[in-house]
């Protein structure tokens, strides 16, 4: 394994000379990271607004006339797809991956800077194509983020004319962008680690992003194949997924296809996708907790191996999303078993986070609050996942609000709390300034308590049997009036939490211009990105000489050391001075 920076690359680092070359068509990983992050957050705000519109309909049906059944399904589909893929995946891998990987491993940049730049612009193209679906005749697709055929491309589903085509094209473009970025992240970690940075001296953040990227490179092809096949079915009339059908009273030309095939392809991608989102979050949380508790991560090797094992196992559990598809019960038995097995390394990680906090010198700064908030909400969401992993329990709960509560907790709440914590944590390094702690704490507490108000009642609604993806519940015997009250409470909470995010944006933007100077290492962190000679790091990151690494990333509170942390690039003989 290579340890020096881009040792084989005899070309000097690309130095842009114009403003446009430096900040628009930039090949600097830090600029590309901010471009990814800005785009992802912008489109995420769009999805947040869509979710608030959905909640208005669910909490107060018959009140908002502009929300029709068709448009409800369209908002729901776009909300889901944007959040999972265009926000979470792009922000965690494209944003944090791009920014942190070279800095944390001691490299000057990614090993393929031009392809890295290209990957952002192709991602932006994918976003624009998806947003365009709001403006085409028929509007965006309303097929649900899972895009199940045959309905997704049949009359009767909103967006059947153009929306679904743009969605599939956008996904294919995104996958090309992701592949380009992913090749960069993996190759950089393998090739460009600085002298002394062995694999087991890397911070957990890098391990999480690395394994998630490898997973993505293996899983996205399945979505690509599914999207291409569905495109052919829709545009050219092939029958990959379409059985012989009568639609709107007319016999269609389809014949011989299998809707279940799409489900297998989609979920073979879809389950690793949730770990592509979760694993970087796991890695980042480990670093947040150890830094702000001034304590080495408990069981570092187990944490690394758990990330790897979770990644591998995630390829073998996909059909737990298909228990109600009519599959052979023995299939369900196999996948339920593998699903419960994957809970074991995940639980080990949770124990290790808790044991890191135990007897740590805990500083309840805003990043630490979000990290602890992650632990709460992830345990919660993970436990409900164990319910759903069992076939017999999943059958009555499938497609109810219990599932909605579960996946929002593990995907929508926990990784988002980590993203907030990570932004607060690395903000001083990225901007050189510090944010306002009071606003940060207000943001945290309202968000943290608010998401419980939103998602806890959903589990009870699920037990009652309240279905998901319904525009309106109507009058049914099994849905009591209290369920409608619960929906109103959830909606109010969702609106409050949505508006509270403005506090976060205000804090970030105001502090960028007026915040106090933060210094190079305000948290006293050990990892390499905090040891750059300049803050924010200049192009090339390290000045004339690359850092040399002498220790792992978690030398916090080492007995006998003068300070409660030893940076990775401090040699042993310079510790006691």
């Amino acid at each position: 394994m290579a340890y020096t920076t881009i040792a084989d690359d005899t070309r000097p680092l690309h130095h842009a000379k114009t403003w446009v070359g430096k900040y628009v068509w930039s090949q600097d990983h830090k600029v590309i990271a901010l471009q990814y992050s800005g785009t992802a957050i912008a489109v995420g705000v769009v999805a947040l607004v869509l979710s608030d519109i959905m909640r208005l309909q669910l909490g107060f049906p018959d009140t908002f006339k502009f929300i029709t059944p068709s448009s409800y399904l369209q908002y729901m589909t776009m909300h889901g797809m944007i959040m999972v893929i265009y926000l979470l995946t792009a922000l965690l891998l494209g944003g944090f991956g791009n920014y942190l990987i070279p800095l944390m491993i001691g490299a000057r940049d990614m090993v393929f800077p031009f392809v890295n730049m290209l990957s952002y612009w192709v991602y932006l193209l994918a976003v624009l194509v998806l947003m365009a679906s709001f403006f085409v005749p028929g509007g965006p697709t309303g097929a649900g983020w899972t895009l199940y055929p045959p309905q997704a491309i049949l009359e009767g589903t909103p967006g059947r004319d153009w929306g679904i085509i743009l969605m599939l094209v956008s996904l294919a473009i995104f996958i090309v962008a992701f592949t380009m970025g992913g090749l960069n992240y993996v190759t950089t970690v393998l090739q460009a680690r600085t002298r002394g940075m062995t694999l087991m001296r890397m911070p957990c953040t890098i391990w999480g992003i690395l394994v998630a990227t490898i997973l993505g490179l293996l899983a996205f092809p399945a979505l690509f194949v599914g999207a291409v096949m569905m495109m052919l079915d829709r545009v050219l009339g092939t029958s990959f997924f379409m059985p012989s059908l009568v639609s709107m009273g007319q016999q269609t030309g389809y014949n011989g296809g299998s809707p279940i095939l799409f489900q297998h392809l989609f979920w073979f991608f879809g389950h690793p996708e949730v770990y592509i989102v979760a694993l970087p979050a796991f890695g980042i949380v480990s670093d947040l907790i150890s830094c702000h508790a001034r304590k080495n991560i408990f069981g570092y090797r187990m944490m690394v191996w758990a990330i790897v094992v979770i990644g591998v196992l995630s390829l073998f559990v996909w059909a737990h999303h298909m228990y109600v598809s009519g599959m052979n019960p023995y299939f369900g038995f196999f996948f339920a078993t593998s699903t419960l097995v994957i809970a074991v390394p995940t639980a080990i990680k949770v124990y290790n986070w808790l044991l890191t906090l135990w007897r740590g010198d805990i500083h309840l700064r805003v990043p630490m609050l979000f990290a602890i908030g992650f632990i709460f909400t992830f345990i919660h969401g993970g436990l409900t996942g164990l319910f759903l992993g069992n076939v017999s329990v999943d059958v009555p709960l499938s497609d109810t609000f219990f599932v909605v509560g579960h996946f929002h907790m593990v995907m929508g709440v926990s990784p988002i709390l980590v993203i907030f914590g990570a932004i607060y944590h690395w903000y001083p390094k990225i901007t050189g300034r510090m944010w306002n702690a009071t606003l940060g704490k207000i943001h945290f507490w309202i968000t943290f308590l608010g998401v419980y108000a939103i998602y806890l009642p959903m589990h009870y609604l699920g037990f009652l049997g309240v279905p998901r993806r319904y525009y309106a519940l109507g009058e049914t015997a099994f849905i009591p009036p209290s369920a409608h009250v619960a929906n109103e409470v959830i909606t109010v909470a969702a609106l409050i939490v949505g508006v509270t995010q403005l506090v976060f944006f205000y804090n970030m933007i105001w502090s960028f211009f007026k915040g106090p100077e933060a210094g190079g290492n305000p948290w006293g962190a050990t990892s390499l990105e905090w040891q750059t000679p300049q803050t924010p790091p200049a192009h090339g990151n390290w000045g004339p000489k690359l850092p040399v690494v002498y220790r792992w990333a978690y030398d916090y509170s080492v007995p006998g050391a003068p300070e409660d942390f030893i940076p990775q690039n401090v040699p042993p003989d310079r510790v006691t001075t």
Binding site: M1, F112, L183, A222, L232, T238, S239, N296, D555
Partner: protein
Amino acid sequence: MGIVGRLTEKSWLTPGLDPLTEAEAQGHRPLPSAAVGLRLYFGVATVMFLLIAMIFVMRMGGHGVSTGQQPDWKPLSWPQLLWFNTAVLVLSSAAWEWARAARRRGQLESLRAGLVAAGVLALGFVAGQLIVWRQLVDAGCGITATTMSAFFYLITGLHGLHVLGGLTVWGRTTAKALGGGAAAQVATAVDLCALYWHFLLLVWLAMFGLLLMNADRMTAVIR
């Protein structure tokens, strides 16, 4: 210390310059980053083609097809041009090997000839595939004709797109090699292009074999 030793070491117990990476420093030249990246890409493309192959095999075995589907067939014979196209692709890979050998021996003329031959032959392959498409469509076997034809166009289309992608890199490599680019870079570029071509040849041979095994199904979807 192998990879397992590396991944189980207790990194908190050994601060200081890591002796193993120091030893590596004096030793071998690591694999160039572009070579690592290309091999990773092979993994991605393999997953994609493998998935399609599995779906194809299962579908042609009748798996997953709902009962009561109407069989449809159009009389057709196996497009013989495919054999020729396969031979052209093999020659293209051979041309790359010739180019690599010429580069190693420092023979610029042979390198140029090899590069041009490789690119022209690959272009010929793509053109030949398009002619096969035209032949099939003219015979009434468009993409929607049968299940087999849908897979045929999908497989040849995706493979062809990969060849076209390779041809864009071929263009830049040829320009670099003949425009007097740095020797190390030219070496890497030519070697990696050749590797990519061989990968696509392997993929094509596997896909071609699958299609050939189901050649009789060009005429029917379900029996």
